[in-house]
Symmetry: C2
Subunit: 175 residues, 2 copies
Amino acid sequence: MPAGLRVMGIDPGLTRCGLSVVDAGQGRQVIPVAVGVVRTPVGAALTQRLLELSQAVNDWMDEYQPEVVALERIFERGNVSTVMHTAHGVGVLMLAAAQRGIEVHMYTPSEVKKAVTGNGRADKKQMTAMITRILGLSEAPKPADAADALALGVCHCWRASTLGYEQRLRSNTLK
Amino acid sequence: MPAGLRVMGIDPGLTRCGLSVVDAGQGRQVIPVAVGVVRTPVGAALTQRLLELSQAVNDWMDEYQPEVVALERIFERGNVSTVMHTAHGVGVLMLAAAQRGIEVHMYTPSEVKKAVTGNGRADKKQMTAMITRILGLSEAPKPADAADALALGVCHCWRASTLGYEQRLRSNTLK
């Protein structure tokens, strides 16, 4: 198991971008380190918003030194202009990781839901309840973007754990 | 007229990104300074491609010190995955401008066609012929992405020229 692996979970967006940092513990244990939401002003120029998002994620990376980023994969549904803005934001977020040599893994919302609750169609309430329990938090994380960022971190820890297990199984080094 | 204004035209893309630099001259004169196409490997990781695009556009900005960027506005048409990749690239390109305090103006393909040929539905052949003539080039720019980047630069010079004229007309300072 990749105990100690530090993962940054990112729920991308320009109006609200959820950021989390979690550490993989023993077995399926995941330890919460930080969670927050970066907001950029809706009325500001797109260039200014991208600059602010870039600065915020770089500050987080400086402070927490994640080894991996787990990023939500976005789709072209809903409001087209919002999706395009989010896609521009994803470019800036991925660039920040690339400039530090941090690996980026992308997960669809249903992959995250399935990993965390066992159900790819879990609703927000179920997700928040599971995340609160898994991370041993004293209260539910808010807003939704913060909870989603934590869920991405948990999802990657568990998937990475399984991947590691399978790799060692294949190479016969499993103890 | 904003004679001397240096504009970088960008036709965004990850597989091919057209870059140009032009200077606004007297009247409707536009002077070509540089043109090129940045390519990133189709098979490489998205993070790597974004990093390479960012490095290339930053190198161009270091070398040519543009005052304004004219960027093609992208739409959610065609292959969805290509559009998303281009949108991620646009985020990285806009960030490079924002980090230097360079203004970004976006133009739709039909705005560029109308500015350059007078016809918002001009085809590639007409566009290339007009750009070659306007810039006094000895041969047509290739590939299409390079010609498009030059057209964006010309479009912005002429639009900026008109904007300046209108502003001075309103403020009664027109000589």
